[in-house]
């Protein structure tokens, strides 16, 4: 048999089917069946009838939105400075911002907990603050990375053109720089927003289980071997992610490149 280029795709197709498509089908199956394996809307009813479930979902959304906003506010100027040769002449500074991701996630988060407690921000009594700090600390590199790559490609003459046409610094920021870097902002936002929704290690460790995010909620049900209800919540999350992807796709239209996803 002659070797064709498309054969190179076989390993990935096998992986895709085994680890993405089949598990997603499993989620669908479990979400809409009861424990006896019969098709039912039992889980839908159960989820929307209990206020706690809705609250957990809303709280998770609030954490995800805040985390995204804070990361963007912090990461945007950092990425700008890192990508600007005038301020940053060596790649070392950039490495320093990316380096936390090289350390084991669980160790890093535990260390954050100890550090916060040590400086007096108690993970027990100020758990929402510590969770937020942990989330921002953890996701900041993922914001800096796509923003940095976008900013490297900035045409600085466009910024000069803006000043030349009479715009001051803030007008240039809002009317030129941010629109120019929008693709980077969108991919940065998606890289933070979606994983925050499903994260649970950070909130568990840094809030001593006071803050329950949607991810830990799902984990809770799976641990109790309630596959059906857990799957239904995973299904809801899938829907949320789908919506956020659609939104980012739409706003990305017309802008080429810059996206990491």
């Amino acid at each position: 048999m002659k070797f064709k280029r498309k054969f190179l795709a076989i390993p990935y197709v096998i992986f895709l089917v085994g680890f993405v498509i089949i598990p997603v089908l499993f989620i669908f199956y479990y979400a809409f069946t009861n424990k006896a394996g019969q098709f039912s809307f039992e889980n839908v009813e159960k989820f929307f009838s209990d206020e706690t479930n809705i609250n957990v979902l809303l709280i998770s959304l609030v954490y995800a939105i805040f985390n995204t906003l804070i990361c963007l506010l912090l990461g945007y100027p950092i990425a700008y400075i890192l990508a600007n040769k005038k301020y940053n002449r060596s790649p070392i500074l950039y490495m320093l911002f990316i380096m936390p991701t090289w350390i084991n996630f669980v160790i890093r988060t535990s260390a954050t907990r100890d550090l916060l407690n040590w400086i007096g921000i108690s993970t027990g009594s100020m758990s929402s603050i510590t969770t937020m700090i942990g989330l921002v600390y953890n996701y900041l590199p993922f914001v800096i990375l796509p923003l940095y790559t976008t900013m490297l490609k900035i045409d600085t003459y466009q910024l000069e053109a803006s000043y030349d046409l009479g715009a001051n610094k803030s007008t240039t920021l809002f009317k030129v720089l941010i629109p120019m870097t929008l693709p980077g902002i969108i991919s940065a936002a998606t890289m933070v927003f979606m994983p925050t929704l499903s994260s649970y290690v950070i909130s568990d460790i840094l809030s001593e289980f006071n803050v329950v995010l949607f991810g830990s909620y799902i984990d809770l049900y799976f641990n109790q071997a309630n596959w059906n209800f857990g799957s239904f919540m995973a299904f809801i999350m899938l829907c949320l992610i789908l919506v956020s992807v659609l939104i980012s796709r739409k706003s990305e239209k017309g802008n080429e490149g810059g996206s990491v996803l």
Binding site: Y157, Q158, K175, P179
Partner: protein
């Protein structure tokens, strides 16, 4: 007279933070209102830096930039009533044509005065209204022949159209001066020629001052009222296109603008100059025996096929160039380029003649390499231009020799310790050898300028420390070649600063 001057640069210098030499050195320039001024020069000559300083994107290291008599050196670009057309257009890709052009109008605040309740005049600021913006944008689009393009995305326009949008975006703000940084550089030849004429037309219609940067001498000659020729951060000559072409101030200008034959000559008598092995009448007056540079344009040389004149040579080469033939004539060792519309046979003896007023004589910029800051080191070598050369220090004192301790001994047996003695070093152009063998070189440098002088090239080699060696070479080199510089021991001429007696021991 002074009211006509819209922009004045006074002793402007610019040194970039990451370099230790001046990118722009001591620029003095006056621009008249409504003038079309071109800054012309090879890449790296400081023309763009000068324009960027006028635009406010660079702050001069020293010196003043005066706009209508007011110092604007430290004003940011958005506070200057100037607009720039950038080299690569720098259009906003997230905006369409209309919004690109309207950008400047939308951020602008127009002052107006009203009387408050107490009857005092108060200055307030307002935005342009939608209708005002609409009118101005449409007018600008018409100006650049892009009517009905307002809704297009700038990414879908051709290079020439993008260029027009960039011009419209600048002129819509009615700047006092329009700065153009090689705006036609990215266009193809035909498009460029069209745009040149259109820009000139636009300049006439708008009546505002244009400052234009280009490296294309033809473009400069076509469009400008006044040309500023720059090289190496300095202004070489300022003048009208005709002045610059017909009376170049130095060999660089002559070489850069148009084609030219450049020779080294000597003044032999009043208004008589010797070059190409003959004595010519000329109209310029210099001191007798002074060495001068001579420029003759190829179209100013007349060929006599009967060879009746005094200056004889052989036509060795003929190229048809459309409107004329270009000949190469060998007179002795010297090459002469001649342009003529008449078809002559080649490989025949001819004589040539040149009208006296077409021989342009210029003062020589350099007669030899002189280094003021040389010194003698412990091993009786000389250090200059940050390199150490072997030399013969006995030339400093007639009849002297060096004893075994390395000291200079005079005829009268006086001993001198010349370690660290300051000297002026002089080396003739002909005595420097350059080669592309960089191994065991004493010093290396970049070739920054090559000018053909009839029978040899005059090459300027610049070292990393910004020291120049001017070399006469028979060989062809390329600009930016890295070469090593060698000088024979006996060719280094030394002159002691101060009297030798102070080194006596």
């Amino acid at each position: 007279m002074n009211e006509d001057i819209i922009l004045e640069l006074v002793n402007v210098n610019k040194m970039f933070d990451d370099s230790d030499s001046y990118a722009v050195e001591n620029i003095n320039l006056k621009v008249k209102k409504g003038e079309f001024v071109t800054l012309l020069g090879p890449s790296g000559c400081g023309k763009t830096t000068t324009l960027r300083m006028i635009g406010g994107f660079e702050i001069p290291t020293s010196g003043k930039i005066l706009l209508n008599g007011k110092d604007i050196s430290d004003l940011p670009p958005n506070k200057r009533p100037l607009n720039t057309v950038f080299q690569r257009y720098a259009l906003f890709h997230h905006l369409d044509v209309y919004d690109n052009i309207a950008f400047g109008l939308r951020v602008k605040r127009i002052p107006y005065q009203i009387k408050d309740k107490k009857g005092n005049l108060v200055t307030k600021y307002r935005k342009y209204t939608k209708d005002e913006i609409d009118n101005k944008v449409m007018h600008a689009l018409k100006m650049v022949d892009l009517e009905e393009f307002e809704g297009r995305s700038v990414n879908k326009l051709s290079g020439g159209q993008q260029q027009r949008v960039a011009i419209a975006r600048a002129i819509v703000n009615e700047p006092e001066i329009l700065l153009l940084d090689e705006p036609l550089g990215a266009l193809d030849l035909k498009m460029r020629k069209e745009m040149q004429l259109e820009l000139k037309e636009m300049h006439k219609k708008l009546g505002i001052t244009f400052i234009y940067v280009t490296h294309d001498q033809e473009e400069a000659l076509t469009m400008s009222d006044s040309i500023v020729v720059m090289n190496d951060g300095c202004i070489q000559q300022i003048g009208s296109p005709t002045d610059i072409y017909n009376e170049p101030k130095n060999a660089f200008v002559a070489d850069f603008i148009g084609e030219s034959n450049i020779y080294v000559g000597t003044m032999v008598n009043k208004k008589k100059v010797k070059f190409l092995g003959a004595i010519w009448d000329c109209v310029d007056d210099f001191d007798i025996n002074e060495k001068v540079d001579i420029v003759v344009r190829p179209e100013d040389i007349v060929i006599d096929p009967k060879a009746k004149g005094e200056v004889k040579g052989i036509l060795t080469n003929k190229i048809f160039k459309g409107i004329h033939y270009q000949y190469t004539c060998m007179i002795g060792k010297n090459e002469v380029t001649i342009q003529s519309t008449i078809d002559y046979e080649i490989n025949k003896m001819v004589s040539i003649s040149i009208e006296p007023d077409l021989i342009q004589i210029m003062e020589r910029e350099y007669n030899s390499n002189t280094y003021q800051d040389g010194y003698i080191d412990r091993d009786n070598n000389v250090v200059f231009a940050n390199a150490c050369f072997e030399c013969d220090i006995t030339q400093l004192l007639k009849g002297s020799f060096i004893n075994e301790d390395g000291y200079l001994v005079s005829k009268e047996n006086k001993i001198y310790d010349l370690n660290d003695a300051d000297v002026i070093v002089d080396v003739d152009f002909n005595d420097i050898e350059i080669s592309d063998n960089l191994e065991d070189a004493i010093i290396t440098g970049n070739i920054i300028q090559i000018i053909w002088k009839g029978d040899h090239y005059q090459v300027i080699v610049r070292t990393e420390d910004e020291e120049d060696f001017i070399v006469n070479s028979e060989y062809t080199w390329n600009e930016n070649d890295i070469v090593s510089v060698n000088i024979k021991k006996e060719n280094i001429k030394l002159k002691l600063k101060g009297d030798i007696s102070k080194y006596e021991i």
